[in-house]
């Protein structure tokens, strides 16, 4: 192992900044900025909760923060990155997960605000999709039950009426009505 290589084992937890000129292999957890002028390798067990910058950055683990490579960034299978990725050359392998702004060579400095606005706007898209889907569902629900319920009510009312309507000839309805009228009449008579 060369002298200018730092290795953070899988059970190692660093809370703070890591800086320097050497290369770093991280298989543990780092809650703090990693600012290295050498190469940075984040192993599959690596977990970083802050920005990472290095010359060549290889990610096989998880990073929640921005990645900056002065030479290149490689997201390999198993990488999980939530944050912006900037480097002259960027490779994203199959199996790597990324959510963030990506910028490769050339095109000057992407304004942070823009990146944030895009990242801020990003959640809106699924939200819009879901809301659209929900709206569609609501529409369909609204239309279908409306179509069903409204006629059902309409149908129900005439049906009840229709049910009530036939009874009149039947004695029950007459009895009820007759009792009511009698009671009403009695009550009314009593009141009066």
């Amino acid at each position: 192992m060369a002298n200018d290589v730092a290795v953070l084992g899988r059970s190692t937890h660093v809370r703070g900044r890591i800086t320097g000129a050497a290369s770093v292999e991280i298989a543990g957890r780092v809650d703090g900025e990693v600012d290295i002028t050498g190469d940075v390798v984040i192993e599959t067990t690596g977990l970083i909760g802050a920005n990472v910058s290095g010359r060549r950055v290889v990610v096989r683990g998880a990073v929640k923060g921005d990645l900056t490579g002065t030479e290149s960034i490689t997201l390999e299978d198993g990488a999980k990155v939530v944050g912006d990725v900037r480097a002259p050359r960027i490779a994203i392998s199959q199996g790597a997960l990324l959510r963030g702004f990506v910028q490769t060579a050339g095109g000057g400095n992407a304004p942070r605000a823009k990146a944030h606005s895009t990242s801020a706007a990003r959640p809106a898209i699924p939200a819009a999709r879901t809301s659209a889907a929900q709206l569609d569902q609501k529409r369909s629900h609204a239309e279908k039950p409306a179509a069903k319920s409204a006629p059902a009510k309409i149908a129900a009312k005439p049906a009840t009426k229709a049910h009530k309507a036939p009874p009149p000839p039947v004695v029950h309805a007459l009895k009820k009505g007759a009792k009511a009228t009698r009671r009403v009449g009695v009550l009314a008579g009593g009141k009066h």
Binding site: N3, V5, A6, G9, R10, V14, G16, T19, A22, S23
Partner: protein, 104 residues
């Protein structure tokens, strides 16, 4: 072989916690806690409280040392701080300023 190496040229400002052996060749400021052995190589600069198993110092260490095992200050080591350990060796040529507490 140690599974955590803080190589020369690396600076860590903050707290390091690990269950593994640690070899420090670079610079650490803050706190260093390891269940296993810590080796501070010549040329390394540690300005931190150190909690460890066996500790070997050949570089510069400023801070209090608490070891569950032995502490070896090798020739060329420069240690400023209190040492609490079950055993301690101070080699010829090691610089040391601080209290020693060997609780028996």
């Amino acid at each position: 072989m140690a599974s955590t190496v803080i190589g020369a040229g690396i600076t860590i400002d903050g707290e390091i916690t690990t269950d593994e052996d640690v070899v420090v060749e670079g610079t650490i400021r803050g706190k260093l806690t390891a269940k296993e052995s810590i080796t501070i190589e010549a040329g390394a600069v540690v300005e931190a409280d150190v909690v460890s198993g066996p500790l070997t110092v050949a570089g510069s260490l400023t801070g209090n040392i608490t070891s569950s095992d032995r502490v070896d200050l090798q020739g060329g080591a420069k240690v400023i701080g209190n040492v609490k350990a079950t055993r301690i060796t101070i080699a010829d040529g090691a610089q040391f300023k601080g209290n020693v507490d060997m609780d028996v």
